[in-house]
Amino acid sequence: MNSESELADLKFLHCSDIHLGRRPIGSPNSPYSSTRYEDYFDAFEFVVDWALAHKIDAFFVTGDLFDKREINPDTLARTQSILSRLRDCGIRVIAIEGNHDKSFNVNESWLRFLHETAYLELLSPVQGGNDIIFPYVEISGFKVYGLGYPGFLAAEMISKVASVLSGRNNIVLVHTAPGNDSFIPGLVTPEALNVLRSKVVYAGGGHLHSQFAFPANDPFFFVPGSLEYWDVWENDRKGFYVFNTEKEAADFHNSRRRERQEFSVHVNEGEGLSDFIEDHEIHHGAIVLVTVSGSGDFNVDQGGLEREIESGGALKAFVKVRRTDRDITLDDYKSMSARDIEREVIMSSKEWKEIGAKGEELVAIIEKMKHFQEEGRYDLFKDSVDSFLESITGDVS
């Protein structure tokens, strides 16, 4: 038979954004802080238990194993002890750096240290004579490439690695995720990811803390999300993927993490929140998040309510108040960028709406018009304006 059959039936576990050593911001010496510190280790330990119980073939960590570049001795020692369990069972751990644990200097990298002390294998691109070189490790015929956290260069690095891949038995690990969000730096557009589609059996992403598979049908790029809540307000799916090479399919498994209860309550004018505790069942040790919305004159003592919930057994409570009746204030306006203003003007323009152009589509076409005019590409300009008009005249008729 061909070599494909030799490759069959391997299981690769993929997790990301574990953030070991993290402590919540504020109250550094509180029980809350030390409990949460433990939580991240617990979540990781859970995945490692699973990996050992199911005899997986390799263990991938796609960035942010640590929450910080500089970690304390305790974090190092505990990470070593968890990783050594995998090592003792002969399970290879392949890791890349994320934005949180990426070192500015090779000599100061704890991940590099773990690599050199054989707890894991760290992959990161290196500069060759002229081009960037992508080192890889080979696992039973599959080549695993690690790109680390490429930041704003994500699209470029992905296209570079795509150009060196041959065949399809490749796996690419990169600390990025698909998105068009300019608010979160370090994401990559779906188009840029698509160059990998025909070149890999599996691509492992990270950076975003919620589970995500791309594209929706027949996905090849998987973001498992963080194992624990990095920020308590995160509320999507989180866990790890297990990729089966024979089926060429990835199963998602939930991570074990601290319980989190989220409530949202509405307060009428003139009322307060005196019987919140009676109305809601608070679980012991949970993190409780409450969003209070209301308009007009209502009165909520955020701190008081938080303390009350905590004394009801919660590990920690956060109360957020949102007024539904307030306009954008000058302060909001103050932080608007030129781009925001431009968008705002375009989106709110009555004249554009009159001719049937609106929303993101309009912003995009104007962006294109500007770009092509600047570049002096009348041909492209004409094409895009024409198809835009085509679409709106189509709508009209």
């Binding site: 290196v126 956290y149 323009s349 018009m369 004409k382």
Partner: protein, 945 residues
């Protein structure tokens, strides 16, 4: 973004500079010319490709050839990037992320930075107009004429583009649409004119269909007739073909019969010739054999004869050679005597040279002798100098020692001024003795006093019991006491007496009370004096040692001078002696040199003569060799001549046999002529005679063939006549005529059908085309409709673009105005608002409650202008630059102290939203509010430190 560090090399006044920057507000402080603005320029050049005050080459440090800028910055993705620019006599621009090379070359580096820092448009322009507020230019942007301002800010806001699209590409697009519309209309007109023909074409199709079916029927009947005629004709043709075939086979057989009889005749003739040839051969066989034998003999004789003729030729050649050799021998003998003469000449010259050389040798020896003498003289003076130097150094050392001894002596000598310590000691001892005595007295007095006071105390204590006669020791009545009267009075008297005594004693004690302390003092003094005495004794001995040493040294001094003058031979001053010695050495060495020169010139002459002698010897040897060679040549020529002569004699002997051979050849030739005819006849006919039997059998087979062929001919003739009778040739001819006529008719009809068919097809396609055209017309009409709509929309878009550009500008202005106002109010502490109208004219408006008066920008004081500009600039940076990074060069010139302080307090408000701001200033007032203060020293001061 924010900058983390900068390294400069040979950039402007910085030969080498490194600095780190922090998040937030960074101040660069320093005196004029310390290189503050230069740092800002370096950032602009490396990161944004602009911002220099003059040409790039001028920024290389004077007298250096290459400048290097390295800037590390943190981008919004949390990664650190490093940009490095080298320019001057080499150039390079590179962007790194960690160790990865991200971009190389100015264009791509700047483009990458543009993306990484979230900037838009032309980033060097953004840097120069938005990020940096250059020194002395902060207020400039807001001054100037409205047109200039509008132009400037439209550029800064980068909204010109909207208007440009409207008037450029969008306009082209509309006119493209219009052209398309016109073109389509023209096309429709053409299509319409084509469609007019449609009915006509339809009728024609129907007519053609009818015609076609008619002609097709006629064509069928004709085809049937033709088939019938043809089948009959074919059967007749078959018969005629068979006749023809018989005829041709008959003809073939006749030809072959003729061939066979020809062959037969030929073969008979050949057989006859062969018979005759056999007869001739038999007759001439004998003559043939004899001739052959003779021919062989002749050949042998002829060869021998030719060899002898060769010998004769060789003999004459040898004769020639011998005479040649003889001539050569005479020539060589002459040359030999010539060489002998030359050898004699050389020998004479050699003798002459030898005599000259021995003369020179003698001269040279004399000169060398002299030179030896001179060298010894020189060496003597050198060794004298060495000896002198050794002793001179001893002399100097001695002198130094004398000096140091003198110093030591001086320090010891001043001892004598101190008072004689032994005297003091005596005095002190006396004093001590006296004080000792006093102390003893004091002790005794003290003892007496204690006894007295103890008695007194006992009396006082037991005064009561004693008064009653009770003994304090026995604690019972004592008769002694009991009997005494007025015991109390007695006791009081006793106490009084004791007190009296005590007072006396105290007086005594007072007199000698200080004696113990005095004793102590004195003892102290005494040890001091003892020490002084010891010291003095030490110094004394030191002094005598020094004196002794000095006298020793002085003696050595004299001896050394004596020794030195003995070296020189005459007494003189030491310094003079040293000079004298130098002079002597100099003279000796010049003389030695001169003598050596003389010796070497003589040696040169001898060498020259030696080389001449050498030459002569070599010349003689060569000539000698040549002579020997000539002699050898003569000898060898002689032996060769002798050899040649002997072979000549041998040849002559052999040549004697030649006439005999000639006669033998003659005889043989005669016998050959007799037998030649027989020989030739035999050769001519032998082959033909050999073929006789073969020709006989050939004759037999030819005869057979002739017989067979004539039989087959008669058979074919019979068949042929039978067939000829069966063929009707008239009928055949008629059929041919009929066929042709029908065929012609048929062809005509067929052509007619084809042409009708063709016409029909074309008419039909015509019809199809026309309906196509109809369709085309319809789609064109639809397109025109759509284009109409598009034109309408496009025109609206053009309007909207202009409008949007203006609105965005207004939006920017508005946002900047509001933010600037907030900051301005805070810093100035006044309620005034900043206004910025469509012409970008800045003014400041007082609050309504103060009358709402408006002051234009140019009417503001210099300081106010700077402050308002600063607020506007800070707002502009916040809103227009995605980099959240700003640089201000000397923003505080023209501000009074109070404003400066207010500004300092508001730095956080102005720049707090930014990731980083770098402010160049002279004013220390800001340093408190800054996260980082970088102090620059002027370069020249640094260098001298």
């Amino acid at each position: 973004m924010r900058i983390t560090s900068i390294d400069l090399e040979n950039f402007r006044s910085h030969s080498r500079y490194s600095g780190t920057f922090e998040k937030g507000i960074n101040l660069i402080l320093g005196r004029n010319g310390s290189g503050k603005s230069s740092i800002i320029e370096a950032i602009g050049l490396a990161l944004f490709g602009g911002g220099l005050r003059d040409r790039q080459e001028d920024a290389v440090r004077w007298n250096e050839r290459r400048a290097r800028i390295k800037v590390a910055f943190l981008a919004d993705d949390g990664l650190e990037y490093v940009v490095e620019k080298v320019f001057g006599n080499a150039s390079n621009h590179e962007l790194y992320q960690g160790e990865l090379l991200v971009a190389r070359g100015r264009e791509s580096v700047i483009e990458k930075i543009r993306i990484i820092c979230g900037l838009q448009g032309d980033i060097s322009r953004t840097f120069e107009n938005v990020i940096v507020a250059s020194q002395n230019k902060i207020a400039d942007q807001f001054l100037g004429s409205p047109a200039v301002r509008r132009d400037y800010f439209n550029r800064v806001f980068q909204v010109d583009l909207y208007r440009k699209i409207s008037t450029d590409f969008m306009r082209s697009y509309v006119s493209d649409l219009r052209n398309e519309d016109e073109f389509l209309r023209r096309e429709i007109a053409i299509l319409d004119s084509q469609l007019e023909r449609k009915e006509e074409v339809k009728e024609r199709v129907a007519q053609l269909l009818k015609d076609l079916s008619l002609t097709k029927k006629e064509l069928d009947t004709l085809r049937d007739t033709l088939t019938k005629i043809r089948s009959e004709k074919t059967s007749l043709e078959q018969v005629s073909r068979e006749i023809a075939s018989r005829k041709s086979s008959l003809e073939r057989e006749l030809v072959s019969l003729k061939d066979a009889s020809g062959n037969l005749k030929n073969n008979l003739k050949q057989r006859e010739r062969a018979v005759r040839a056999k007869e001739i051969v038999d007759e001439s066989r004998e003559a043939h054999d004899l001739y052959e034998k003779l021919l062989k003999e002749e050949n042998i004789l002829n060869t021998e004869k030719r060899r002898l003729e060769g010998l004769a030729e060789e003999s004459s050649r040898i004769g020639r050679k011998i005479s040649e050799f003889e001539i050569e021998i005479t020539r060589l003998t002459e040359s030999l005597s010539n060489k002998n003469n030359r050898l004699r000449e050389i020998d004479d010259r050699f003798e002459e040279q030898k005599i000259e050389r021995s003369g020179l040798m003698k001269e040279k020896e004399a000169a060398e002798l002299e030179s030896g003498k001179k060298r010894r003289a020189y060496e003597l003076s050198v060794s004298k100098k060495k000896a002198f130097k050794v002793i001179y150094e001893q002399y100097r050392e001695n002198e130094r020692r004398i000096n140091s001894i003198d110093d030591q002596y001086a320090s010891v000598r001043n001892l004598e001024s101190v008072e004689e310590p032994n005297l003091c000691l005596q005095k002190i001892d006396e004093e001590i003795e006296k004080t000792n005595r006093e102390v003893m007295i004091l002790e005794k007095l003290n003892e007496a006093k204690t006894t007295k006071s103890a008695q007194k105390k006992a009396l006082e204590e037991y005064e009561d019991s004693l008064a009653e006669g009770i003994c304090p020791l026995l604690n019972e009545k004592c008769r002694n006491i009991e009997n005494r009267e007025d015991y109390g009075g007695y006791i009081a008297g006793l106490i009084k007496g004791l007190e009296e005594g005590e007072r006396e004693l105290l007086k005594e004690i007072k007199k000698v009370g200080d004696s113990p302390s005095r004793l102590n003092e004195l003892l102290g003094e005494k040890t001091l004096i003892l020490k002084a005495i010891e010291e003095r004794a030490k110094k004394e001995s030191e002094k005598s040692r020094i004196e002794e040493e000095k006298s020793k040294l002085m003696k050595t001094h004299k001896n050394l001078i004596l020794e030195l003058s003995s070296i020189l031979g005459v007494p003189a001053e030491v310094e003079q002696m040293s000079e004298e010695i130098e002079k002597e050495i100099r003279e000796a060495s010049t003389e030695l040199e001169l003598q050596n020169k003389q010796v070497s010139s003589l040696a040169d002459q001898i060498k020259r003569i030696d080389s001449q002698i050498e030459e002569l010897i070599i010349g003689r040897k060569k000539l000698d060799e040549e002579k020997k060679e000539t002699e050898k040549a003569i000898a060898s020529r002689r032996t060769e001549t002798a050899d040649l002569r002997s072979s000549l004699e041998e040849y002559a002997k052999e040549l004697d046999k030649l006439p005999e051979f000639n006669t033998r050849i003659e005889e043989t030739r005669r016998a050959m002529a007799l037998n030649k005819a027989g020989y030739e006849n035999y050769n001519r006919f032998a082959t033909l005679a050999g073929y006789l039997e073969e020709y006989a059998s050939l004759c037999q087979s030819s005869l057979e063939k002739c017989r067979n062929t004539s039989l087959s001919i008669s058979r074919i003739r019979k068949e042929y006549s039978l067939l000829q009778r069966a063929f009707d040739s008239e009928r055949f001819e008629q059929l041919g005529i009929e066929e042709k006529a029908v065929e012609e008719k048929y062809n005509l009809k067929r052509d007619e059908t084809v042409s009708i068919d063709r016409d029909l097809l074309s008419a039909k396609t015509d019809l199809e085309n026309l309906s196509d055209i109809e369709k085309q017309k319809k789609t064109r009409q639809k397109t025109i409709e759509k284009i109409g709509k598009k034109v309408e929309l496009a025109e609206k878009i053009r309007e909207n673009l202009n409008l949007t550009g203006e609105r965005i500008t207004a939006g920017f202005r508005d946002a900047i105005e509001r933010k600037a106002t907030l900051d301005y109010m805070r810093i100035s502490g006044m309620e005034e608002t900043i206004r910025w109208n469509e012409d970008y004219e800045v003014s400041v408006k007082a609050p309504e409650y103060e009358g709402g008066s408006i002051r234009s920008f140019s009417n503001l004081s210099g300081g106010e202008q700077v402050l308002v500009s600063l607020c506007l600039r800070a707002a502009m940076t916040g809103i227009l630059s995605g980099a959240r990074f700003a640089v201000f060069d000397e923003p505080t010139s023209n501000l009074d102290k109070e404003r400066k302080e207010l500004l300092a307090h508001s730095l956080r408000e102005l720049f707090g939203e930014l990731d980083q701001s770098i402010i160049v200033t002279h004013d220390d007032v800001f340093s408190e509010m800054a996260q980082k203060v970088i102090r620059l020293e002027p370069p020249n001061e640094l260098e001298t430190q």
